[in-house]
Symmetry: C2
Subunit: 321 residues, 2 copies
Amino acid sequence: MKILVTGGAGFIGSTFCDSALERGHEVLAFDNMETGFEEFVSTAKENDRFQFIAGDIRELESCKKAFHNFSPDWVVHFAANADVRQGTDRPRRDLDFNTTGTWNVIEAARLAGCNNVLFSSTGSVYGEPKVFPTPEDCPFPVQTSLYAASKLAGEAMIAAYSAGYGMTGLVYRFVSIMGPRYTHGHVFDFVKALKKDPSTLHILGNGKQNKSYLHIMDLMEGLWCGIDNIKKGSFEVFNIGHDDSLLVDQSVDYITARLGISPKRTYGGGERGWVGDSPRIQLATEKLKKFGWTAKRSLKSAVEDTVDFLDSNPQFFEERD
Amino acid sequence: MKILVTGGAGFIGSTFCDSALERGHEVLAFDNMETGFEEFVSTAKENDRFQFIAGDIRELESCKKAFHNFSPDWVVHFAANADVRQGTDRPRRDLDFNTTGTWNVIEAARLAGCNNVLFSSTGSVYGEPKVFPTPEDCPFPVQTSLYAASKLAGEAMIAAYSAGYGMTGLVYRFVSIMGPRYTHGHVFDFVKALKKDPSTLHILGNGKQNKSYLHIMDLMEGLWCGIDNIKKGSFEVFNIGHDDSLLVDQSVDYITARLGISPKRTYGGGERGWVGDSPRIQLATEKLKKFGWTAKRSLKSAVEDTVDFLDSNPQFFEERD
């Protein structure tokens, strides 16, 4: 089938494009190249079932044109402002990218006659939950970051589109994803800092933040599982994450062991690394497991694959224009 | 104190302005006059503690200027696109008014140094709940209308502003409000239709939709209760509604009895009056009652006060430009 992937040149989006091509689908990647990378789609570009369009989800007209011309069966929407930590410094960004941008994407999909949308949301929408592991139908949460608020808004609009127009809405609440092409997040920051100075490492918070993560290839399998199984016209939300979790200090153990160094650690202190940081993330994934999915890769291997990728691709640490 | 009221010339906003003036506060009403009425603020305008500014919450710069100049202690935010039924015909409206508009309002408040925001949300954010009466922390709901999705987004952004900037965020989830100045909703539609043709009345859905409502003066008391009691810097969500409820058919009984007519009733059929209509709304209000609030007026009197107002003010049935 024809699949349009927003954020198709980013970490997760480009991996999904490759995976879709491998499964024989026709793929259009739509990316503004702000956090996407040319080299992530270089292999895909050799495939004649792949197209790339430079476009920004903040511009409805660009979306409408690209979506109309490609006429996808599914829109898989990854494009987002994904830096939760900048929320209070740039409070408009999350709204523009993740809320208005998501509306542009689903409206363009609808106008192009595409009836199926997959949306990458976040476990951060649970705020600071009281139930662990946190199920999809846990008590109505209170948002703690503009990032999560903007993603919740995206989920909600897709649910309303599904109810109002009969669209299939497939929402995943992700934990932090790791693996090859990972270019943003705490492992990225740590490896970058250690490349500059292997003798010390500063850690935001107390190092005890306890979070689930997931290997990108386990994510891919989970996304296909939903696409293959969701009832057309319905709206479903699935948590996706590993049953295991890591303390930030454990991540640092794995990173430094893989790099063969032993830096002195200093701590910012406090339970949270930044405003809106959730000290614990552990999602219940029974709902997706009923479709036969399960995570097959350990979190240790997820960290190691990430470190190996960053170690052999130092160009990603360079500041971009 | 100084209170800035968005939507200050509308049904609820203008009543709140009057109530704030009565309590001795200084009030600025901010309204784009799209669904507000000059005559709703005519009494307020005689008070020298009252100011009015024509402005649109969709325009950040207008908000910033007005908020900065007035420098309010509280922003009480009612301005909204409130017609849930038009959602799928005009899918961008809810996003522009209720989500982006709300962001503009809270950002303008923050930039003006105002630390306290009250937001009028809706019981519709519960979608079609499984628990009745529905408490604030019921299971994570699925949205069924763009209106509710856009209000949920507003709530979420206010929660994030409270977490990120230390603002007081006071959110109310309203049932449908009735009483004098009511100019929109099912009683309005019914009275309008009956004024044209008292012999028949067409009812959307099967007439069995069972919903709680609230008299505007009970709402006012509930809003002040929150303003007077909320801990500064915290974020709280309160349901507000009557413990009693009415079937649509019961509303029609009260309306027709008050008008002294007996129309033949016809029904659109189905449990829902329109896409996104929730067949049952009954909110648990224990949380607000702990602050000493309780609804004092019956739903019968709420309907009758509404009918009396509309009956003696037929000018509100005229189409506006």
